[in-house]
């Protein structure tokens, strides 16, 4: 097959060359006239023909032309230039920057291109190649640190891990805070499976991770990412875009010579940071050895006992290979691009893999001079083998695994679990047993199709219609082996293994119709945009669960006892419609005013039993201004070094529809108990639910200095979100346990800044720096009806601490119980034991997971044919709850328990009735934890494991590239360019956090609100990865 493909490709190329035999291949380099740096991506066109090409990464091009013909060089931001082909010799060109560089065009909602100068807000753009270069499987992982205000919070470093994609901090307490992902004008599916609602097991979203579906997108297909943050920017996407949007423009074929690009990458990954465990004390209690115990409060290991490095043995080196093959080309009237990707990742945890095949075909056709059509068809197939996390996941199993046992010895010759302490029912799994026998897998087949019509009936009028279809089918399996701790049940009720399988079919069908009209009258110009959209989401999940597997090693639902079968069908469906109007009014290019209005209709606001009184529609406005003050002569004359300057201000209101479907009406649940039947769901229907409302005010400035060598962008925003849709527990007196209600106000304020600098530029060497600064403060001003706390129960992974909000505290508070203290704040200690007490069982905000600020720093160097870039990413401040350490401490495996034989007196006063008097009794009771194991178990508090003010400096990505000079590759006849590159991902992490990685989430992104962000429980961090690859263009 491969051979045939190669001969086919060669054949095509040979035919093409023969046809042009009478012409000569003109080559040359296009450079910047000011700094002499090469300009990649410049279109080189043979005048009055359809023949064209683009320059390579080094600014080189090659085109067949006859002497005397004229070449036209054009590039965004530069003045077009022409050159005549001579009989021989290269044609090198230096392009001058266009003085009206501010006329850069930004793609906003629905593919509407707007002059940058007219935007009343900032819309940072990241090049697709910059992200693709990192060689990460998911594009969002590569965006971290490259955009101010964008935060990517991944669950852990495993292949296929889910991640929150959050712009400008968490705004919704319980709702979805993820940015909308829009590809070529069409919002795509970025949902994560919610185990609780959609699966028959109904489990909390924490022991398994499910990918967020944006992971399916091949980063190599992406031309640019435009990030729309404020609600003003996303007013055009309505409710769905209320958390901001990432607008992805994919690569299209380019007219001119056809080309074939191939690149590959091979990566080795190594996990180098995880907490150590103590190997001095054996299992037991009060210094007495107990082989059955999983608490390590026993005596010291007998000298000479063989201890195994089980943690080191467990992790393996990961390996990834990735291949991209792209064909593109076409004429002025028709272009095509067919890109294919295959990637295969084997993670650092045994039996974790992520494989993906993606094939994407894009064509653009000019059907007539008035109508242009772009059609895309993308098929993606992925396969993700995962492991369990949480209390019985591999990491906590690993930490409590006795080092005197060999981890590799997990299965005997007959395939039985090797036991050390108890029966299969009572002993926790050996982590290698866990990852080998408890299977977790997701397989996804996905098709993304979209068609984009551009109709230009008159010069001033443009009509755009987009239709998109996104169908994803995922089949998943989650199994606990019959002999595993979780799958065996109990001795009295053995379950003999458990399998859960599911099939989920997601279908999104959406479309938009927009018309934009331009008008010019003297110094005044105006653009009017009108549009309407619809979006139809339908997801159906069928899940099956069975127990008592006949063959414990055959993972299929058919292999389970029929009487244990349980099934669930869950359908999530919702629709939205929207209409919007926008007027952009400009005076010269000096002052712009944009007025927008939108009406949204959301099916989630329909009352199923009361059609007449349902109010699914809600409307909101936005206003923004842009003042390009450097257009004034005063600045041109007096501040010549200031190339451009713009001040912006905007105010916008956005509505957010309820985050859960079917929440207005009452819902029933099918009973699985005797006689079947139906009973009411625990969730009360709330017919009075209304949209969450955000009001955003924003001011900003954008300045370019010294021939655009230095750019500064600053924004300040203040976002007040009212009528939060929360899901509190209620008094059962209402008949329900929970209800979606409106209540609570959240205020987010922040500063974002981007500074870009061309520090050094000449013909051979250049150095460019971009810094992205983000500061966000989110505070919960109030909660419904003076509710003291609202918590997310899925995040309650560790005793006495959970993700919750309290009025007056940060949106990202962590809530927990506290040790008792007297009025002066002294620790209250038991007069009997001298240990702290926790008699108050209320939850208080004990930490704030929100970082104080983050800073991303991108450096790019080029020296002749070498280029190099690296991204530093700093997180400064904010707390992380180290629940893994809480667990280790309680079990006596933490390094902090090594001083257990040292007597100590806890500072505090005795709770003897005098604690609040003028002379409380100071504690003098000495405790030796070795003999008082309660020191580590009952007398611990989550406060002790909140790691405060965490700073983490990461070198996220480093890439080196080398393009072989033309002279070297000219001998390879059909190769236009050839390069090699090396990339290191997650190269360095310098942090004061003592656990694996402060970037962690105890839940999957299936949980709304803030979720388990910043709660480290049984997760590992990101491995360091070394990539090597080559890229070749034919």
């Amino acid at each position: 097959m491969q051979k045939q493909l190669l001969s086919l490709i060669l054949g095509i190329i040979l035919l093409a060359t023969q046809a042009m035999a009478q012409q000569r291949a003109v080559t040359g380099t296009v450079t910047d006239a000011v700094d002499g740096g090469p300009l990649p991506g410049v279109t080189v066109k043979l005048k009055s023909t359809t023949t064209a090409t683009v320059t390579t990464g080094l600014g080189r091009y090659s085109i067949n032309a006859k002497p005397g013909q004229v070449l036209v060089f054009s590039f965004v931001g530069y003045k077009p230039q022409e050159a005549t082909v001579a009989a021989s010799g290269a044609v090198d060109v230096k392009l001058q920057t266009d003085a009206t560089a501010l006329n850069d065009v930004v793609v906003t909602a629905y593919g509407i291109s707007r002059d940058k100068a007219s935007l009343g807000y900032h819309a940072p753009v990241v090049k697709g190649s910059e992200v693709a270069e990192t060689q990460r499987n998911d594009f969002f992982g590569g965006l971290q640190g490259r955009v101010p205000g964008l935060s990517i919070n991944s669950t852990n470093g495993n292949p296929g891990a889910s991640a929150q994609i959050v712009l400008r901090g968490f705004v919704s307490i319980s709702g979805d805070n993820n940015a909308l992902i829009v590809m070529d004008g069409v919002p795509i599916n970025n949902t994560t499976l919610n185990q609780t609602r959609e699966l028959v097991s109904g489990a909390a979203n924490r022991d398994q991770d499910y990918s967020n579906r944006a992971i399916d997108i091949n980063p190599n297909d992406i031309e640019t990412y435009t990030v729309l943050k404020g609600p003003e920017a996303t007013a055009l996407y309505g409710s769905a875009g209320a958390s901001g949007a990432i607008i992805i423009t994919t690569k299209k074929g380019k007219a001119g010579q056809a080309s074939i690009n191939y690149n590959n990458s091979f990566r080795v990954e190594h996990l180098n940071k995880f907490p150590k465990q103590q190997t001095m004390y054996n299992s037991g209690s009060v210094g007495v050895y107990d082989p059955v115990s999983t608490f390590f409060n026993g005596p010291a290991f007998v000298p000479g006992t063989q201890l195994y490095d089980n943690i080191g043995e467990f992790f393996q080196n990961g390996f990834t290979q990735k291949h991209n093959l792209t064909f593109d080309g076409g004429s002025e009237k028709f272009t095509y691009r067919w890109s294919n990707e295959y990637s295969d990742t084997r993670g650092t945890i045994p039996n974790t893999t992520y494989k993906r095949f993606s094939s994407r075909l894009t064509s653009t056709a000019e059907i007539s001079s008035l109508l242009k059509m772009t059609t895309t068809f993308n098929y993606i197939n992925s396969n993700n083998d995962k492991v369990n996390k949480g209390p019985n996941g591999f990491l906590l199993s690993l930490y409590r695994f006795n080092p005197s046992f060999d981890i590799n010895n997990y299965e005997d010759a007959k395939g039985n679990r090797v036991l050390h302490t108890s029966s299969i029912f009572g002993e926790y799994d050996n982590p290698l047993w866990e990852v080998n026998k408890n299977k977790n897998n997701d397989k996804t087949n996905r098709i993304l199709a979209n068609t984009n019509f551009d109709f230009t009936p008159a010069k001033w009028l443009k009509v755009n219609a987009i239709l998109g279809l996104d169908v994803a089918s995922t089949s998943g399996l989650s199994a606990y082996h019959a002999q595993s701790y979780r799958g065996s049940g109990s001795a009295s009720a053995p379950t003999g293994g458990r399998i859960l399988t599911y099939d989920r079919l997601d279908r999104i069908f959406n479309g938009s119709l927009t018309a934009s009209a331009k008008q010019k009258a003297g110094d005044f110009n105006a653009t009017y945009i009108l549009g309407a959209t619809f979006n139809d989401f339908n997801s159906s999940t069928n899940s099956q669960q069975g127990q008592n597997m006949y063959d414990p090693n055959f993972y299929n639902i058919n292999n389970t006892l029929p009487t244990t079968h349980r099934v669930l069908n869950y359908i999530n469906r919702y629709r939205t419609v929207g209409a919007f109007a926008q007027a952009i009014l400009g005076y010269k290019s000096l002052l712009y005013l944009t007025l927008s209005g939108r009406i949204d209709g959301a099916s989630k606001l329909m009352n199923p039993t009361n059609y007449e009184d349902s109010k699914p529609f809600f409307a909101y406005p936005a206003i923004s201004t842009a003042f390009n003050f450097t257009e004034l002569n005063f600045f041109k004359e007096h501040l010549p070094f200031l190339n451009s300057g713009k001040l912006t201000a905007s105010y916008a209101i956005t509505g957010k529809e309820p985050w859960r479907e079917y929440s207005l009406g009452t819902n029933y649940v099918g009973a699985t108990t005797t006689g079947g039947g139906y009973y009411l769901s625990n969730y009360a229907g709330n017919p009075n639910l209304k949209p969450e409302k955000s009001k955003n005010f924003e001011v900003g400035a954008e300045l370019q200095f010294f021939n655009n060598r230095l750019g500064v962008q600053v924004d300040y925003y203040r976002l007040r979100s009212e009528d939060q849709i929360i899901n509190p527990r209620l008094s059962y007196g209402g008949g329900f346990v929970l209800e979606l209600i409106n209540g609570g106000t959240v205020l987010n304020r922040g500063i974002e800044s981007q500074i870009t600098g061309g520090i050094f530029r000449n013909k051979n060497f250049s150095w460019d720096v971009t810094s992205n600064f983000t500061l966000n403060r989110g505070v919960v001003l109030s909660l419904a009806d003076e509710l003291p706390e609202l918590y997310e129960s899925d995040s309650w992974v560790s005793p006495a601490a959970r993700s919750a909000v309290h009025p007056g505290a940060s949106t990202a508070a962590i809530s927990g119980t506290r040790f008792d203290r007297n009025n002066k704040g002294d620790l209250l200690l038991s007069p009997l034991t001298g240990l702290p007490t926790t008699s108050d069982t209320r939850y208080y905000p004990i930490g704030d997971r929100n970082p104080k600020f983050t800073l991303g720093l991108v450096n790019k160097f080029r020296y002749k044919n070498f280029n190099m870039s690296f991204l530093w990413d700093l997180r400064y401040g904010g707390d992380v709850y180290n629940a893994t350490e809480y667990e280790s401490y309680g079990r006596g495996t933490s390094l902090k328990t090594l001083d257990r034989e040292t007597p100590r007196v806890i500072t505090g006063v005795l709770k003897d009735g005098l604690e609040n008097s003028a002379n409380p009794t100071r504690n003098t009771i000495s405790v030796t934890p070795y003999y008082t194991p309660a020191y580590y178990t009952t007398n611990i508090s989550p406060e002790m494991f909140i790691e405060r003010n965490i700073k983490a400096l990461r070198l996220r990505d480093v890439s080196f590239g080398y393009d072989f000079p033309k002279s070297t590759i000219s001998r390879l006849k059909y190769i236009q360019s050839l390069g090699v590159f090396a990339t290191i991902t997650d190269a360095v992490l310098i942090t004061n956090y003592t656990g694996s990685d402060p970037e962690t989430n105890a839940n999957s992104t299936g949980v709304g609100g803030i979720g388990g962000y910043g709660i480290d429980y049984g997760n590992v961090g990101k491995p360091i990865g070394f990539n090597l690859g080559l890229r070749v263009r034919l």
Binding site: A493, A602, S603, F617, E661, T673, G735
Partner: protein, 549 residues
């Protein structure tokens, strides 16, 4: 393009939106996987199931206080209930609360409404009967509870009402149940009610449902023994309603199961795992010395020490699980090698080997097969004939009618033997039925009062304790509370010393449960404060029915 044209287009488009087309398109906010409106017929099966689930879960901790059963764990979380205490910030002990307001709650209301509105009178009758029962259980457990304000749409905080008001409502609903049970529905629901998804208690026999309601009334009046009006008025009500109620063990209110899977089996059975949560959890369901002594001579005499298979009471080995001895005697039946041990409440017994009431694990097996009424297939008792006979005996005895009391007392004991024969033998290897000879022997023994003159209140209450052991935890607790845990009435009850009681009890025994934590302590703290519910010793506050006034 002129501005006003834009506005025109915008106006037209907006108008289009608000009109029918789009709204119709959006009208999909109902779950297609589940019906949105459910008929009474489909609401009934889960309601009946939840009656057994809710009471079983709370019984596990109520039994620790009544000393029906306890744990063998020395952990605080297990022992605090045996100490008459409660775990802070926990929903344990709040399942009946949840049952009444959520699991039955609006399901029951909807069933009753559908029954009344659409002339399905059987469902209205059964609904009111269950509602009356549920509220009586809830107030007996918690004292003041949410009553009139329950299920008010849009309300987040609810007023409590005390027991006299709840009892009055219970009688009102009971009478409505009786009214509807006598009405003829235009369409017969007999087949549906008798089917698998029908009435799991009486299969639609409305006469028996009436008896159930009368039984409920008898129990209610029976709680009021400390009230001055008891002898003059309430005792007669007890007798009247007991006589109108269940007439023999065949008419007992019991819930049946198909027991194919855990969720479809008796919650007190093996599969559901409530009585044996896991091998690691040792908190629940071990018999105590209190019951063991009552079955081995402790009702009137001295209980046997180191009891074995043979006991004065034929129910002993049939109700309690035996502990297999280490030495097996060759040639003798297995059963003779059983010894009987029980835990002492509040000690976190060191006898970890004491099996749960489901029985010891047979050699080579992973789980017990279940024993007495603790099997997957056993019917779950809600109210029994023998129970009501003891209520009647107590009332008559207090009133001064010793002869009538004695008659009801002996009927009660004999009926409980019959109860065993009818409901206690669902295990795959059941114990033999109690023979008439065995019954007669017991009736003639020193454990049973031999004539009306010899009958003491302790005889009645302790026989009632035995008869209710293992299912009517709450009614047993009502009895203990009525007599203030009197050691002369409940002779084998382990009297905890002040030091053994839960620290914040201030030396007092428990008289009520705190309302469910996650329902009330989060939202309703103002209302709780009104009743003293925020005080650490709220649990020791006597409920209204215990008090003289």
């Amino acid at each position: 393009m002129k501005m006003h044209n834009i506005y025109k287009i915008a106006a037209v488009m907006s108008a289009l939106f608000v009109t029918t087309g789009c709204k119709k398109y959006l009208d999909i906010n109902s779950n297609p996987s589940i019906p949105q409106e459910v008929r009474a017929e489909l609401l009934l099966p889960p309601i009946i199931y939840q009656m057994s689930n809710g009471t079983t879960q709370d019984n596990r901790v109520i039994w620790k206080i009544t000393q029906n059963m306890g744990g063998v764990s020395a952990l605080d979380a297990s022992l605090l209930w045996e100490k008459h205490g409660f775990p802070p910030a926990s929903d344990v002990g709040g399942v009946i609360w949840r049952m009444t307001y959520v699991d039955l709650g609006l399901n029951l209301e909807n069933m009753i409404n559908d029954g009344v509105k659409n002339e399905k009178y059987e469902y209205a009758a059964i609904g009111y009967a269950i509602k009356a029962w549920a509220y009586q259980m809830t107030t007996d457990l918690h004292g003041p509870i949410i009553l009139d304000e329950a299920f008010t749409v849009g309300q987040l905080r609810f007023k409590y009402q005390d027991q006299p008001e709840v009892y009055a409502k219970v009688r009102e609903w009971g009478n409505l149940a009786i009214k509807y049970s006598k009405m003829q529905s235009p369409v017969s629901y007999a087949t549906t009610l008798a089917g698998v998804s029908g009435d799991g208690i009486y299969r639609g026999d409305m006469a028996k449902w009436r008896k159930f309601v009368y039984g409920l009334f008898a129990l209610q009046y029976g709680h009021l023994v400390n009230k001055p009006q008891f002898k003059t008025a309430y005792a007669d009500s007890v007798v009247k309603y007991a006589d109108l109620s269940i007439a023999n063990e065949a008419e007992d209110a019991t819930i049946g199961y198909t027991s194919s899977v855990a969720a479809d089996s008796n919650p007190m059975g093996v599969q559901m795992g409530l009585m044996i949560p896991s091998t690691a959890t040792t908190y629940y369901s071990r018999p105590t010395t209190t019951i063991l002594s009552l079955l081995t001579g402790g009702v009137r005499g001295t209980a046997a020490t180191a009891p074995v298979f043979t006991s004065v009471d034929p129910r002993m080995y049939r109700m309690l699980p035996g502990t297999p001895t280490i030495v097996k005697v060759p040639g003798l039946p297995d059963i003779n090698t059983l010894s009987y041990q029980a835990i002492t409440p509040n000690l976190g017994s060191t006898s970890a080997g004491i099996p749960t009431v489901l029985g010891a694990v047979p050699t080579g097996a992973a789980a017990p097969i279940g024993h007495y009424i603790f099997t997957d297939r056993s019917r779950y008792p809600i109210m029994t004939y023998n129970q009501l006979q003891f209520v009647k005996a107590e009332a008559l005895l207090l009133k001064g009618d010793a002869a009538g009391a004695y008659d009801a007392y002996t009927k009660g004991i004999r009926a409980h033997m019959d109860f065993f024969n009818q409901y206690g033998r669902a295990s795959t290897t059941p114990d033999p039925a109690i023979s008439a000879a065995e019954v007669n022997t017991y009736m003639a023994s020193s454990e049973v009062a031999q004539n009306a003159g010899d009958l003491k209140i302790a005889d009645v209450m302790q026989q009632k304790y035995i008869a209710q052991w293992g299912w009517a935890g709450l009614e047993t607790w009502c009895d203990l509370r009525k007599y203030h845990y009197d050691a002369t009435v409940f002779r084998t009850y382990y009297q905890l010393t002040a030091g053994e009681l839960f620290a914040s009890n201030n030396g007092k025994f428990a008289y009520r449960f705190r309302p469910r934590y996650n329902s009330e302590y989060v939202w309703n703290s103002d209302e709780l404060a009104k009743w003293g519910g925020l005080n650490a010793d709220y649990m020791t506050k006597e409920t209204w029915f215990v008090l003289p006034n």
